[in-house]
Each structure stands twice: as structure tokens, then as C-alpha cells.
């Protein structure tokens, strides 16, 4: 872009001042106090407005308040690839009182092609970066490649201030990384690891608890079965006992049957028949003998027969074998069982009842134990589940940590590579301009990732502060030209040089002035000086 002309209504000491700019090298050679610096400041204000509040004495607004008290402001005509424009601004006591109007010089009509943020829109950099590159008031040496300059120094394809975002991006990644942080006690990973370690002991008990639970359940089952058997036995014994008590014979009944001290066969009820037969035969004999005794001999023969029958019956009775061991009589039996059987049954019942009582006590204890085991198992299962969840989360978090590390590391690599791909051309351009300006071979310069110029001196890389003031000014100027080359590969902006060679010696001055003439073919240079010897 090119500056065409400007009209200063009131700006500091300058009042009603008109200036038409040479398209290549515009030289303003005026004595000190003329207002060269004020002119430079006016040009800056036309593009970037005036900073500050006039109530503050150190502000630019206060410094350039019109001496004559008039309205501070003016007009500037410039040309860009979009056309020729005229910007008119006035500056009040405070920024909100400022005015801005842009006209299309071709039509004379107001246009919205650019806004009040004119400088940023045209040059793509902020005020500070503008001051450090295209605009200089004073020494050319205080040049620092701001983030905006670094951001601007890129190929034309990029359209965002990546490098400006770089530091913020690293900060975001670092903050996320720290919140996860394995090493930090407050980090999520560390907290989860601690929780896992607390719970894993409980979870590990699950298998043992389950085994204990199963064994206890088996015991209970067995006891239940055994209890059922015992219960059935008790019921049988109880019934038996009840039966024994109802069957026991009364004392009178037992007296009806005389006790027989012997167990021989005589008392064997099986011997009663022969004596009865003998008696019958005897009766018959008597009946037959009575008539005989009465003289009736006819009954003699029957009497003889009856006598024979008596003999035979008696002999039969005497000839029977000995009876076997006598079965005790019913009375004897009843008298022997109640004492022993009852005792035995009662004893058995008591024993079974005791066993059942023991079982009941054991069941009650098992019941309590199983409840406790259930609770412990539930705790162990919950702990196990939580541990499984923690492990999954830890895997995820460690992966996130890894991703954050990779992202940060690759961002750094990208930045270094990004800068190195512009740094080298930048260094090359700087060295070229330094050589042009100084007229001699440049010392060993290098540049860091932030595009700061460094010089190798005494075996170390040092800032340009170690250079003499003249050489420092040269380096600053060369840096500006190099930055302009890198920042504006196509349409070049103007360059304002406000007596940049004041500290040069004659030889150096000659070279610089020669270089300025050459460079004005590439850049529109507004050159201010207060001494004729420094006019290119």
C-alpha cells in the first residue's frame, strides 16, 4: 500500500499542515522541533487511533492535544489493492469522543470498506507490531518480534493467529494434564489408585467368603436333614411312650391269675385235659359199680370197661413228655416290661430331645453367622465391582494423559518446525539487509524460535545489546526490513524511518543512505531527518 497525502488540521504542534508523499522515497528534512515525530505519530493515529485518555499526562492523547486548542484530527489519503481511500479522524478528550469516516476517493462517497480498526485490517497486525515494523519513531534498534509479528510472518495461506494461540493451547493442555496428574495427590488418577488400593483387600476376600458361605449352607442343610430324622425319632418315641402308658395292666387283673413259682410243664395249661378224662372215666365206673353193688351183675362188664378206661386215661397222663421252659404267664410279662421299657424309652426320648436342643442352638448360631456372611459378601461384591469400574476408568484416564502429552509434544514440534520454515528465510533476509545497510559482511547472526536476532560473540549467542549502538541500529533496521519481507510477501506497506542513522559514523552512514535509496524501490519509505548530511 502507499501513502498519497495527508492534511493535519490540528495535532500537537502541527496545525493546518498538508503533505504529499513521494511514492518511493519521501524525505522530510527539517530542523529539530519542526514536528517530524509529531507527523509520524499523526500517521500512526490515522491508522490505529489514539490511545489513552487525555486526563492522563503520559498518554499520547494528552501529548498530542492541539496546542492551539482546536479539534485534534486530520485526513489521510492512501492506496491499497482495494482502491484509493481517504480517512478522516478527529480525537476528543476520550476515545468515545473520537470520530472516524472513510471515503472512496474515486467516488467521493463514504464507504465501509474498512472500519475504525483500519491499521489491523490493512496490515493485519496490532499497533505494537506495527510500531516494531513499519513504523518507527526514534531508534530502529528497539525491535522485538511480537507474537503478532511472528503470527504475521507466515505464508499467505494461513489466516489465523496460530502462534498467538499456541501459548494458550499449551496452557490448556497443561492444566488438563495436571488435573489428571498421577504425581499430584489431588490428581484424579492418584485418588482413584488410592481408592482401588483401599478396596482391593475387601474385594479379594470374596472367594474365601463365598467358600465359607457355601460350607455353612451345606452344614445347615445337613443339620436340617439330621434334625428331620431326629424329629421323626422323637415323635415315634413319644408315641411309643404314650402307648406304653395306656397298655400297662391294673393290679386286680394281675391277682386273678395266680403266680406259678415254677416253670415246669405241670402248670402247663397243656396238661389239664388228661385229669379231666380220668375223672370222667372214674364217674362212669361209679355209675356202673352202683348197680353191681345193688346186685345187678349185668353192669359188671360196663364197670370193668370203665375201670379200664380210667387206667388208660391215667397212664396217658403220666406218659406225656416234660413241658418245655414255661412261658411266663401274662401276669409275669406285664410285671417285668413297664420298668425297663419305659426307662429305656424315656432315656432315648431324653437323649433325642437333648440332641434336638443342641441342633436348635447350633441353627440359631448359624443363622446369625450366615447373616453376617451375607453382609460381608455383599460388601466384598460391591468392592469388587467398584474396583472393576476404577480399573476401567484408570485405563481411560491414563490414555487421556498420554493423549494430552502427545498433543502438547506435537504442538511444540509443530511450532518449532513452523518457525524454522520461516525462520531461515527470515534470517537470510536479515543478513542480506544488514550487509546492504552496513556495506560489509554481517557478523554471525542467528535467530531464535521467537525471531529475535542473536549474535554469536565470545562463543555464545547473545542479544544485539552487545553490539555498538550504531550496529545495533543497523541490526534493528535490517530486522524491520526482513520482517516486512516475511510479513508482506506481496503488497508491501510503507516504512517510516525517523532519523534512524543519527548514531552512524560516516562510512556506515554512506552505506545506509545508499541502501535506503535501493530499498525505496521495494518499499515506500518516509524518511525524516534533521540534518542534511543524513539525507539519502
Amino acid at each position: 500500500m502507499k501513502l498519497i497525502s495527508c492534511t493535519i488540521d490540528n495535532f500537537g504542534k502541527l496545525h493546518d499542515c498538508h503533505c504529499r508523499f513521494d511514492p518511493d522515497l519521501h524525505v522530510t528534512a527539517e530542523e529539530n522541533g519542526w514536528g517530524k515525530t509529531t507527523l509520524a505519530a499523526f500517521l500512526l493515529a490515522m491508522f490505529y487511533g489514539l490511545d489513552g485518555d487525555s486526563r492522563r499526562k503520559d498518554s499520547l492523547r494528552s501529548r498530542y492535544r492541539p496546542w492551539n486548542g482546536g479539534i485534534c484530527g486530520g485526513r489521510l489519503v492512501f492506496e491499497t489493492g482495494a482502491g484509493r481511500f481517504r480517512v478522516e479522524r478527529t480525537f476528543g478528550e476520550r476515545p468515545r469522543q473520537d470520530t472516524f469516516t472513510l471515503y472512496d476517493e474515486r467516488t467521493g462517497l463514504e464507504t465501509g470498506r474498512y472500519s475504525a480498526d483500519l491499521g489491523r485490517e490493512i496490515f493485519g497486525i496490532d499497533r505494537e507490531s506495527f510500531c516494531n515494523t513499519v513504523f518507527t519513531s526514534g531508534s530502529a534498534g528497539d525491535t522485538a518480534p511480537t507474537a503478532g509479528i511472528q503470527a504475521r510472518i507466515r505464508t499467505p495461506f494461513a489466516d489465523t493467529d496460530d502462534l498467538s494461540d499456541y501459548e494458550a493451547a499449551l496452557h490448556i493442555l497443561d492444566r488438563q494434564r495436571r488435573s489428571l496428574g498421577t504425581g499430584r495427590s489431588a490428581g484424579r488418577i492418584r485418588r482413584l489408585e488410592e481408592e482401588f488400593s483401599r478396596l482391593s483387600g475387601t474385594a479379594a476376600r470374596q472367594a474365601d467368603l463365598e467358600e465359607a458361605y457355601r460350607q455353612l449352607l451345606d452344614e445347615i442343610r445337613e443339620r436340617k436333614r439330621a434334625g428331620a430324622v431326629l424329629q421323626a425319632r422323637r415323635e415315634a418315641l413319644t408315641a411309643s411312650l404314650r402307648g406304653m402308658q395306656t397298655e400297662a395292666p391294673p393290679a386286680a387283673a394281675s391277682e386273678a391269675v395266680p403266680a406259678s413259682p415254677s416253670v415246669s410243664g405241670r402248670d402247663n395249661p397243656g396238661r389239664r385235659l388228661p385229669p379231666a378224662l380220668t375223672l370222667f372215666c372214674l364217674f362212669l365206673l361209679l355209675i356202673c359199680l352202683i348197680p353191681v353193688f345193688q346186685g345187678n351183675l349185668l353192669f359188671l362188664l360196663p364197670a370193668a370197661g370203665a375201670a379200664a378206661a380210667v387206667c388208660i386215661a391215667y397212664s396217658l397222663y403220666r406218659s406225656q413228655p416234660d413241658a418245655p421252659s414255661p412261658v411266663p404267664s401274662r401276669e409275669e410279662q406285664v410285671r417285668e416290661s413297664p420298668a425297663e421299657s419305659l426307662r429305656q424309652t424315656t432315656e432315648a426320648l431324653r437323649s433325642v430331645s437333648l440332641q434336638l436342643e443342641d441342633m436348635a442352638a447350633a441353627s440359631a448360631a448359624s443363622s446369625l453367622r450366615i447373616q453376617t456372611l451375607q453382609q460381608e459378601l455383599d460388601r466384598a461384591v460391591r468392592a469388587r465391582d467398584r474396583c472393576a469400574d476404577i480399573q476401567k476408568e484408570l485405563i481411560m484416564l491414563r490414555r487421556q494423559e498420554r493423549i494430552l502429552d502427545l498433543a502438547a509434544s506435537h504442538l511444540q514440534s509443530a511450532r518449532d518446525r513452523f518457525l524454522s520454515e520461516i525462520r531461515d528465510p527470515f534470517l537470510q533476509a536479515f543478513t542480506h539487509y544488514y550487509t546492504e545497510l552496513s556495506g560489509e559482511e554481517a557478523p554471525c547472526f542467528e535467530t531464535d524460535a521467537d525471531l529475535r536476532i542473536l549474535v554469536r560473540a565470545g562463543g555464545q549467542l547473545r542479544t544485539t545489546e552487545v553490539l555498538s549502538s550504531g550496529n545495533r541500529d543497523l541490526a534493528g533496521l535490517a530486522q524491520r526490513f526482513a520482517m516486512l519481507d516475511a510479513m508482506y510477501p506481496a503488497e508491501k506497506p510503507f516504512l517510516v524511518l525517523d532519523d534512524p542513522f543519527a548514531s552512524m559514523d560516516d562510512d556506515r552512514l554512506r552505506s545506509c543512505l545508499q541502501a535506503i535509496r535501493i530499498l525505496s524501490c521495494r518499499f515506500q519509505i518516509l524518511y525524516f531527518t534533521c540534518h542534511y548530511s543524513r539525507i539519502p
Binding site: 495461506f157 494461513a158 496460530d162 493451547a169 490448556i172 493442555l173 498420554r402 494430552l404 504442538l411
Partner: protein, 379 residues
């Protein structure tokens, strides 16, 4: 005509704390028990003669005393109904617990040997607990239902057509049950309703579980009502949906969504289309491509939707819609960064997209607590 209810896999006292908060898990456990109690009341109202409980009535052999008491009390309250209860693989031995000391008289259990009950005239109910004997042909030969009767058989396991069932996986050989005069094979173990033909005479049926316990049990849940006429030798059945809550698993493609509100709307539309309501549980699986401007953090999506449903889970399976080719000639720092990551062969493929997304979002000034993870679970 006899009415019989067939249900299974109630899993009462299930832990359910894997994905539910303790409060929600406790609520869900009480709902399982409530569903069983409702089932018993339903059986009473329908004047059912019997209820077949075909296994896994409880979730494990550990049951709380209160659940045991509620279970027994519900059964005892209806002495006119017989409850035939078969233990499953999860609750084997549960009735040995001290809190089942005094079982209701109308609760009838089964053993490892075939147990037979007669219900009325001409209706017999067989059942056996799963054991290693299932692998033996002799065991099945002991099952000899009379062809003149109506025969119901209760079993718990997975019916298989394999000749060599894998007992460790609770398999039961179907062939051993065919042509044995079985009219109805009442099964348990599979949690979704399923039925089929057993042979020329009978059929088998899994009623599924009464309530879904998780998102892996979507679909209808309830029990089967059998109408049996032993005289006419007829049997019909119908499924009764009965669950208090339903479970849904819904896929939602978020490829066309360029903002979090759009993702929320898309999910809501899909849930409404499936008729998923405030009492239900939904597992929403996000698929498709995640647009580059989105951070991949779905926590705000879950937060916006979770209170509209009893339980909502998001599983993010979306992929990064990242076009590396776009940065091939990009000379900005972004371009250098993307190319640097793509060139790094030490980065795993699944991490590569995440690294790029993370770096680009950081350059945008986006700070998220989360890296976009596929299969990331939000609940």
C-alpha cells in the same frame, strides 16, 4: 378348566449396583419384589390353580431375611394356589437358609430326582433340579409321564439340539424330552420370551424374566398364562406383559449434528419414536461421525436428558469426522501440528484422532475435561 401361571427368572434380591446408584439399585430391587407380589395377586384374581416358578426365583443363594419373609407371606396368603418352585442355577440351595425354616404348605419344591405332583384329575407336574445326571440317558428314562394324563414338566436350563450337552453351560438335551408324552415343557433360564414345538404332542416355553434388570434385557417382559383342560387334553397359552419398567437400547446417528442441542434433539426424537417413557430405562448408543467443532464430551447431553427417564445411559461410539486431507497444504500451525501427528508412527491409530482433536481444540481455546473416547460410557 385350570388356569396356571408360568414364570421364571425373577432374580429377587439382585444386586444391580453395577450401573445404578445405591438408591436406584435399592429401588429397583424393591420393584422386582413388588412385581412378584403383583403376580401373586394377579394369580389370585384370575383364580389360578397353580403358579410354576421355573428357576432363579432369587438372584443367588444369598437372600435377605426380609425378602424371604415377604416371599413366604405372599404365598401363604393364598393357600388355594399351589406354587411349584424349581431352583435354578443362581438360587440353588437357597431354601436351606434359616429364613426358609418354615415354608408355606402350598409351596412345593423339587429334588434332583424326578418329583411328581398331581394337580386335580389327570394333570401331573414333573420337575427335577439340574445335576450331572442330566448327562445320563438313564436319568431321562426315569421320566415316564402317562399318555392318558396332561403332563407338565418343569426344568431350568438351555435347551439344545446337541447330542452332548455342555452341563457347565446349563444345557439340556431337547431330544431326551421328545416323545415322552409331555404336553408342556415349562422352562426357565433364558430371560427373553421364547417358545417352540417340542414334538407332535407338546411345546416348550420360556416366559422370560418378569422385569428387565439391565439394558441387555430389552423387549417385553412378563409371564405366561396357561389354560388347561385335562379332560379334553387341551392346552393354550398367552403371554402377559407385566413389567413395571421397560428397557430400550437405541442407536442414534449423530453425523448430521453440529451442536450439542442438535444431538439432544436427535436422541429425544429416537426415544419418542420407540415410545420410551419417563418410567423406562434407555441405553442410547451414539454412532456416526462426530463433527470437528464438537468436543466429544457427551456429559452435557446426558445431563439434559437423564431426568426425563428413570435411567439413561449414553454409550458414545461415534467416530471423529476428521479429514486429514484438509490439512495437507495448510501452512498454519494447525497444519504443521496435524501433519506432525499423522507422521508419528509410534501413535496407535485409535489415539491418533484423539491427539489431533485434543490439539486443535486447545488451539481453539477449548478446554474440556474429556478426550473424545469411542465406547465412552456416560451414566
Amino acid at each position: 378348566m385350570l388356569k396356571i401361571i408360568h414364570c421364571a427368572d425373577l432374580h429377587l434380591d439382585s444386586g444391580m449396583e453395577t450401573r445404578l446408584s445405591p438408591d436406584r439399585a435399592a429401588l429397583r430391587r424393591s420393584e422386582l419384589l413388588a412385581s412378584f407380589l403383583r403376580l401373586v395377586e394377579f394369580a389370585a384374581a384370575e383364580k389360578a390353580a397353580a403358579v410354576l416358578l421355573c428357576g432363579d426365583l432369587f438372584d443367588r443363594e444369598r437372600v435377605s431375611p426380609s425378602t424371604a419373609a415377604a416371599f413366604c407371606a405372599a404365598i401363604r396368603r393364598h393357600p388355594q394356589i399351589l406354587f411349584f418352585c424349581l431352583e435354578g442355577n443362581h438360587d440353588r440351595g437357597v431354601f436351606s437358609l434359616p429364613w426358609f425354616e418354615d415354608l408355606p404348605d402350598n409351596l412345593l419344591l423339587f429334588e434332583e430326582d424326578w418329583t411328581v405332583y398331581t394337580l386335580g384329575k389327570g394333570l401331573r407336574i414333573f420337575g427335577a433340579l439340574q445335576s450331572s445326571r442330566f448327562a445320563s440317558g438313564d436319568f431321562w428314562d426315569l421320566l415316564t409321564p402317562d399318555p392318558a394324563d396332561m403332563n407338565l414338566v418343569l426344568l431350568h436350563g438351555t435347551l439344545t439340539t446337541s447330542a452332548h450337552p455342555d452341563l457347565s453351560r446349563d444345557e439340556i438335551p431337547l431330544s431326551r424330552l421328545q416323545d415322552r408324552n409331555i404336553d408342556y415343557l415349562a422352562m426357565g433360564h433364558i430371560h427373553a420370551p421364547k417358545s417352540g414345538v417340542l414334538d407332535s404332542r407338546g411345546s416348550f416355553c420360556y416366559p422370560g424374566c418378569l422385569e428387565p434388570r439391565g439394558f441387555d434385557e430389552p423387549g417385553p417382559h412378563g409371564f405366561v398364562v396357561l389354560l388347561i383342560d385335562p379332560d379334553m387334553h387341551s392346552l393354550s397359552r398367552r403371554f402377559v406383559p407385566f413389567a413395571r419398567r421397560r428397557a430400550f437400547r437405541i442407536r442414534t446417528d449423530i453425523s448430521g449434528c453440529s451442536s450439542v442441542p442438535e444431538i439432544i434433539d436427535q436422541i429425544r426424537r429416537n426415544l419418542e419414536r420407540e415410545n420410551c417413557g419417563p418410567e423406562d430405562m434407555a441405553d442410547v448408543i451414539l454412532t456416526g461421525s462426530l463433527q470437528p467443532q464438537l468436543t466429544g464430551d457427551m456429559a452435557p447431553v446426558l445431563s439434559a436428558l437423564r431426568h426425563d427417564y428413570f435411567l439413561l445411559r449414553l454409550t458414545d461410539r461415534s467416530k471423529d469426522a476428521f479429514d486429514a486431507g484438509r490439512y495437507a497444504d495448510d501452512r498454519s500451525l494447525r497444519g504443521y501440528f496435524v501433519r506432525s501427528v499423522l507422521r508419528d508412527s509410534t501413535i496407535e491409530d485409535r489415539d491418533r484422532q484423539a491427539v489431533i482433536r485434543c490439539g486443535l481444540l486447545a488451539l481453539q481455546g477449548e478446554s474440556t475435561d474429556l478426550i473424545h473416547e469411542t465406547d465412552q460410557l456416560y451414566d
